[in-house]
Symmetry: D2
Amino acid sequence: MQTPIILVNFKTYAEATGRNALNLAKTAEKINQETGVSVGIAPQFVDIASIAQNVSIPVFAQHIDPVTHGSFTGHVLPEAVKEAGAVGTLINHSERRLKLADIDAAITRAQQVGLVTVICSNNSAVSAAIAALNPNMVAVEPPELIGSGIPVSKAKPEVVSGTVELVKRVNPNVIVLCGAGITTGEDVASALKLGTKGVLVASGIVKAKDQYKALLDFAEAITKA
Amino acid sequence: MQTPIILVNFKTYAEATGRNALNLAKTAEKINQETGVSVGIAPQFVDIASIAQNVSIPVFAQHIDPVTHGSFTGHVLPEAVKEAGAVGTLINHSERRLKLADIDAAITRAQQVGLVTVICSNNSAVSAAIAALNPNMVAVEPPELIGSGIPVSKAKPEVVSGTVELVKRVNPNVIVLCGAGITTGEDVASALKLGTKGVLVASGIVKAKDQYKALLDFAEAITKA
Amino acid sequence: MQTPIILVNFKTYAEATGRNALNLAKTAEKINQETGVSVGIAPQFVDIASIAQNVSIPVFAQHIDPVTHGSFTGHVLPEAVKEAGAVGTLINHSERRLKLADIDAAITRAQQVGLVTVICSNNSAVSAAIAALNPNMVAVEPPELIGSGIPVSKAKPEVVSGTVELVKRVNPNVIVLCGAGITTGEDVASALKLGTKGVLVASGIVKAKDQYKALLDFAEAITKA
Amino acid sequence: MQTPIILVNFKTYAEATGRNALNLAKTAEKINQETGVSVGIAPQFVDIASIAQNVSIPVFAQHIDPVTHGSFTGHVLPEAVKEAGAVGTLINHSERRLKLADIDAAITRAQQVGLVTVICSNNSAVSAAIAALNPNMVAVEPPELIGSGIPVSKAKPEVVSGTVELVKRVNPNVIVLCGAGITTGEDVASALKLGTKGVLVASGIVKAKDQYKALLDFAEAITKA
């Protein structure tokens, strides 16, 4: 996966569900094609297949369960997510926290089926703990800033730089992203300066008046950096 | 929704994931067309859209979360399930139990978006409790018999008839199904004799050597009854 | 258990932990002795034993788990709660919601060891569902009013009277309490007028400037009614 | 806390509930007095206070919740556990797994009130993750061996030595214990040879025909080592 990356979490926003999800996915693909900047998208489970069939950029699940083929009604099977066309998955998002043993098991299962893992964390100590589980990426997001419009890279730069430092010490192979409150290209630039390889963003793009312009602003911050 | 109904839960079985899920859905549609018996299917979230586009029988989600549009990463939004083509949903399956207040809220949300609700229960008292929440259907399944091959209609007929009786007393509008260990047409016939309007089945169909024959056996038990 | 009852939930308030818990328990006992009104108390697990040894009024646990003797580290065993001196337990409080099947199992376990069950609910439909599980009492508390100081008996009287009516229809043996925002004797009087047999209260007593006066006000409302 | 330590988890065993819990606590104290070996005990919440008042050895809670004084009905408040006389707590036992962010928050809360933290893990990677959260101890226990009578130190020595090695690399201040299937002094000796500073044990002591003899066997293995 090419970095720096802008990873857009669609959550369950109306502006990113069903037909709207497909439209936003195409906008993200357009930005990638125009700027060369890596843009990933994480739509809802039911939208993964149709989006993956229609765009060339990386599609992520918002969550997987650490389950196998078998009796797991209502769970999200890594194999199914993969077959639907996703190339990676978020795990342990602030809105879908997992037990520690389940994060470990979900990372293992993702690796078995070939999904890139982006594990969310809430502070630098938890980021370091996650790094010990050997995922591909950690995305640190102080929960109180999520959806706030106050960028973590300004409000809590020490959480971001602390995560970069602690993760490097525990496991230098793990790529660090940051998120929460990221709404402008300037916020993205700050995130990169703090040592991350990109951002995890949701409302900043999904709820923008002009999703294309907002994403372009993000991408240009990366090309300039 | 026409009853009696055979509702096939695909769980996360390999034989009912991705391409296999679509094949089983088409088999189920064929049985419906040949026998006129109502057959519903509950595939995994990521498979709902492609299946709903390709078959005319009712598609159910295996679970929904009691959430709305907004910040609910990794959750299953009723609106998204509906837009993907599902007409109903299982709730509170033995493998995906919910808190009581969340069952109530999930039923309300399903009704708001127009999804038929099939709430799973583990005994007759819990079935009666669920009936008070006014879902469309209750499916009683003693957990210890799920996947056992020992049909609830034979092993614990009193759980089934007790559910039928208690549910009728609390809320006569609620349709009762039963499940767990149902593997033959004879089991289906017993379920109907005990007062249910159909069965919830998983391994009995999904893991059958010949899924078509197994489903046909079920459907013929209904046409004979 | 004598009704009407004032059941005081100590939560994890500083004013009702450890030594403070014992003091509040003695205050509650004094009110009971002076007015004859039934007063129950629900302290934290670790405080149950010392309180039960020192007061004669009924002591409740704030929660039990539906477990038995065995391998259940960190769980609350009904037998242990009983041996420590509790005579009853809250189950499914808004701050400790349980899965439906676990509420049913916890009620069964409580009955096996002889604990009175007070099951919390968030609305009238859920109250009716709980009544079908045959507990001793249901305490309806709209979550948005808990700790608000706005009494449910004024803000949502229809939730209280609806609960009384629906519970009577499903299971007339179940006693109805109400809670949330109850802070004065007047609120208690309203609760009784709406058909309940008492109140579940927390901050209204625990955080009162004068716990004795606040409880006396509650008790006198009951003796007057 | 003196190491090596034998930490006895009482779970919800009948042989270690209520009066039996107090008896076992006194037996453990006797072993400590006779051999000088450090013995800790983790009884159920309701038994903490009476045991802490009656024995001089360290008492642990089996779990705490990452909550503060306030509205947390049915939760286990660190302050209350401390005031009841516990000096430490287990966190994240296999039978009471927590979300990662909650383990981090529970460790922080325990430190704020002065409780020693023993965090349970299921494998060496998870142990390393926990070490990054800076607890006092990690106790590695492969869940499949818990209660099996097959000692982890023999069945999976690589899990134990791997934990010792990885934890040292991530955070050398963290003390490593191991558990699962430990039933003889020989198992304890193996655990020490693999680099741990003691064992977490439950059924091996609690369910022993002669709890005193079993504990003595453990303690002598430590004095010999």
